[in-house]
Symmetry: C2
Subunit: 212 residues, 2 copies
């Protein structure tokens, strides 16, 4: 085992990987892919460049690993929120709110997922698509149920899910840049606009009945 001033350092392989991912998340989050310098991640990890490259084959792969890790967490949150057995449309709304909340909680995380990747150029697009697709799938599943249950007007669940995602994306980016109340704080208003477009109208009492 190697030592640092006498103290034995007994990191296992996976613990070090985790440390690197943590540091990389910070550095990529602050600077974006392109402007993030590998040595900076090394500094935060007390690891040399060689050490880093022992665990990850390239800057690109490291970045993707960071993104996947974040996406996993967020998607889990969305899925949890979308679980249960209430009306499907309500669960879709809960998933939406969960994402809004999670992204509002940590600016850096949001920046990473929504913005910072683009600086790596065209290769990032596929990754972004992959991640967004995962979120879309969660929402879309509930909406599909909702359509079947007649809770929702006849709108394409896939399209609707995209629209929701886009809204979240833009709101978060705008908030990151302009400040103001976080998207989570405005979740109720957002829900009105987004849900209003799809929720099946309340069954109106028949005129005949009223006329009685």
């Amino acid at each position: 085992m190697r030592q640092i001033n006498g103290q034995p350092v007994t990191t296992t392989n996976s613990q070090t990987r985790e440390r690197i991912l943590e540091a990389a998340e910070a550095v990529f989050g602050d600077n974006g892919y392109h402007d993030a310098i590998v040595d900076a991640i090394g500094r935060r990890t007390s690891l040399s460049k060689g050490g880093l490259y022992f665990h990850f084959p390239s800057k690109e792969r490291l970045f993707f690993a960071v993104l996947d890790r974040l996406a996993d967490r967020l998607v889990s949150k969305a899925e949890e929120a979308a679980a249960g057995d209430g009306p499907a449309l309500d669960r879709a709304e809960q998933a939406l709110r969960a994402v809004l909340t999670a992204l509002s909680r940590k600016r850096r995380l949001a920046r990473l997922l929504m913005v910072q990747g683009y600086s790596m150029g065209n290769q990032f697009e596929r990754k972004r698509a992959e991640i967004f697709d995962r979120f879309a799938a969660v929402i879309e599943g509930r909406l599909r149920e909702a359509v079947l249950n007649g809770e929702m007007v006849e709108a394409d669940p896939a399209l609707t899910a995209r629209i929701w995602l886009g809204a979240v994306n833009e709101l978060v980016i705008h908030w990151l840049h302009a400040g103001g109340p976080s998207p989570a704080q405005r979740a109720d208003e957002v829900a009105v606009v987004l849900m209003g477009g799809v929720r099946a109208p309340m069954p109106v009492p028949m005129p005949a009945e009223l006329a009685r």
Copy 2:
């Protein structure tokens, strides 16, 4: 005057600028800011690097000039569509459709405005915000009218405009990546989802009248 194989080339200053902008639009659109090589723009223009740098002080400024030019055109289209004297909410919808159509018409334009800018890193964020704000302002203005006229439920016009923009953005990006029918082709469905969330409910005939 300089010559190219015998033909005199009598470009005025502004014509050359235009040629450069055109070429730069293509190169940036294909590669994103960072991966775009200034010499490639030179090649497309039959201009040397020195020639380019005579007209634009830096790669960054050139990129911004390209973006501004595109944004100007698009915003004009949106404004035209939003003009007139019909119901404000309908005009907002027209603006939305105009943007959807314009972006669907030219993939490269869409890529540039929606995606590629980020690749220049943090400096771009301000620019993106500026451009998106211009679009938001067009939509928001109509929505504000609509609220005053009671055409619309009580929702914050600024927030709603952001949501619409985000939806457009995501739909375009997803279409660019995954193909399928263009956002313009799906404009009706999009309108249902987005407008449904804000349009004031049709004034329902009073029960009293029905009962008569």
